[in-house]
Amino acid sequence: MSASDQPSLSLGASFFRQFLRHGKALAASPADLLNPLLFFFMVVTLFPLGLGPDPERLSQMAPGILWVVALLASLMVSGKLFASDFEDGSLEQLCLAQHPLAILALAEVLAHWLGTGFLLALVSPVFALMVGLPIQALPVLVISLLLGSLCLTLIGAVGSALTVSIRRGGLLLSLIIIPLHVPVLIFGSTAVVEATRDGNAVSWLALLAALVLASLALAPLAIGAALRISLDNG
Amino acid sequence: MYFDSIAAVIDMNGHGLYVWLAYAITVTLLFWLLWAPLRQLRVRRLWVIAEGHRRAVSDEPQSESAHQRDEADKTFSDSSETQG
């Protein structure tokens, strides 16, 4: 049965396979896809209730509100990223794959991002109008959330990999990840603020893009190491 | 010396409260930083000495009950390992 002439799986095939597997598992439970959107929707409505309905004040704070809520939504979702893989033993098998664990884990993180952060960014204009964000700032908001959510998901994945073997690790995940989210929040919300004032949002988006590239390059290394450590602790 | 009297030192023309409050908090925290490991070392030394005596006691020919308790402990700790 095990003829050795057959070509073994290439890295690309394994990468796509892992991406598809996580995507299908995520798509199979629509709750996981809807939860972040509903969370975003509900928490955004809290701000006018807390700060008062005055549209002038709300629209002035809109970029900050939208970005903080997007960050919290990403945080809430990051906890579940590797949880199911850890429980059903897929993580163990991932360590045995021929290809580096960091790359395969990156495939899972990207699939997870598509299902959560990406959708959030596309739907965010609806929430933006609720808090009175000027129309001309909407494109920058969507771009900043697209870039930002990828960065937040990658950093959140590092936290998730570190805390996956701890039983009630959710709170701990927030504690160790929020400080790392600060630059993303600053660059993202400032870009949208500049867009509302017709300032140069592009330079802030460029900084955000730089963070995304850095995270794409470095986060997988930390994720791979953290997953192996969590397995030893499990 | 910049100040000419103790009262001036305490008052520091109005800012004394903040300066001395900051230094007081810092001194207590630094003292705790230095004292905690020393106390921990002492506590652990006493534990090691106490453990030494317990071990000395268990080496001599024990009474029946003590022996059984050791046996029970050993098997219990073995089976508590769910899988090998």
């Binding site: 049965m1 799986l9 597997r21 439970s29 163990e92 098998q93 | 090998g84």
Partner: protein, 198 residues
Amino acid sequence: MSLLIATEVAIERGDRPLLRGVSLCVESGELWQLVGPNGVGKSSLMRALAGLARLGVEGAIRRQAAALFIGHSSALKRALTPLDNLRLHPACDMPVDDQQIARALRSVSLAGYESVPVGALSAGQQRRVALARLLITRARLWFLDEPFTALDTAGCEWLEQQITGHVASGGAVVFTSHQQSRFGARQHDLDLARYVSL
């Protein structure tokens, strides 16, 4: 050709030493069972030999061939169908088409269950889906941790055939099991009681 060479392996759990000085050389065509009382460290040693655990493991472990590990957890996504689970399995090491998977599922008598989500299957059926991986792998070195648990007699016979077939074709299998020497003379036993470190 030796597929696995382990020299002077020591296993620690937390900071409590379990085993020390374990040396093992598995040649192709050999079948090894790790034997020892409950809690001596069979599973821990198995995971170390398969390369799953690094922390608390000392000594040199060299695997000369790709390894396959099947443990207690089945590594199956409950929401996916057996077809998807086997096609997209994280440790899958060869391109597989649907016919091969269907044949494998038929071989573990799960024909017709191809598109039923794994979550809806019974524990025994899930176990068989996990074991179906043995038919679609190129790994020559198999590590099976308690593979016979939750299997009925038919399943055990099937598994015995797979193991003997794999060993006959030049592969090697290291497994743990509660039953003693299920393969009789054809298997080598590694009694871990000799390596327990106090």
